[in-house]
Symmetry: C2
């Protein structure tokens, strides 16, 4: 806790977040969460019925922070290429503040793929709108012809993967230099949108 004791339930949620995000559901231990929260293990079951319920609270919260954001930025009515710049910058910033969330989410959706879709839709995701919006840019000739879904997945890939694969890339490309990799990630905020815009901008158009 950064703040001064916000009550037991908050302490539990904070501790559970830390442990689940680091270890995943299968690797997490209720005892470790209790220790982290500086309370007794039995109290976890008093506030949340089971490990599964406690996990769901944490997972839903993580999804809520990372999924709607994707669709919000693109729903604004700025210039499309500008929207990409803003999205990439803000999304990488968001992940920089919670660098373990991507691998946590990827891990858990693969462990239990069924529950995902409804959760996402309920959190306000509107993939159809986003696709139409991209298609409109293609039709008007502002960007080169591309399947909107491919572009969408490309954008997400470029933002998210470097965090999910961090140990690998940091180890191989940066001799495990944490600070250098941090800089590398920060500089991606500009590099990635440059890369995407170069890829799709239609130079014939004016």
């Amino acid at each position: 806790m950064t703040e001064i004791d916000k009550g037991t339930e908050s302490k539990i949620l904070y501790a559970a977040h830390k442990v689940f995000v680091n270890k995943g559901f299968d690797g997490a231990r209720m005892q470790e969460i209790a220790n982290e929260a500086e309370i007794n293990k039995a109290l976890l079951h008093y506030y949340f019925r089971s490990k599964e319920k406690l996990f769901e609270a944490i997972f839903e919260d993580a999804m809520g922070k990372f999924v709607p954001k994707i669709f919000e930025t693109f729903a604004s009515d700025t210039d499309f290429l500008k929207k990409i710049e803003i999205f990439v910058e803000e999304y990488i910033d968001l992940i920089l503040e919670n660098p373990l969330i991507p691998i946590f989410i990827l891990q858990e959706i693969n462990r239990n793929p069924e529950r995902i879709v409804n959760m996402i839709i309920s959190k306000g995701a509107n993939p159809q709108l986003l696709q139409l919006l991209i298609q409109k840019e293609v039709d008007s000739g502002i960007i080169k012809p591309i399947d909107p879904r491919q572009l969408f997945v490309n954008i997400l890939s470029l933002c998210i993967f470097p965090f999910a694969g961090r140990p690998l890339i940091q180890g191989v490309l940066f001799q495990n230099n944490k600070e250098e990799y941090e800089k590398f990630l920060v500089s991606r905020k500009k590099e990635v949108s440059k890369f995407i815009i170069n890829a799709i901008k239609n130079n014939d158009h004016e």
Copy 2:
């Protein structure tokens, strides 16, 4: 086993691969591996001392299939842009045959980041060479100025992420239509290299 009984050790490795890749180390159970291999649980410990040792055999094998390949393609002496085409096509094909390996590797390197680096180097990865090679292309004006490491990470992101995030993307963008998503992944073999080449090709140059 697709082939007719290759001996106990092979049966174990095949079964362990299946279970570990699907469930991860923490989620895997020795009993399930034994069932899958149609042998007794004690026999697992006879052939491999412990769950940890058995896991390492599987993990090393997975790394061996997916890491060296990255550097091999780029070491050939074809035209650089052609190399990107070939790499993207072949690497996506490789993952299509083992679609769960990416999330498996990402999950396990995050669970135990330390052991990674040495393993990769020992498998013949040569990141320095690849960086120099990209830098040469920049210097000669064939591709636009870019940090070689950024380009490298971009290529990997675009190839790997759509598999790691499959349940999410397939669920949201494809209403969970498995066949459609399969087609989408296959068409990425062409789409991704087009995207990358558009992004980096220097049109001023000739």
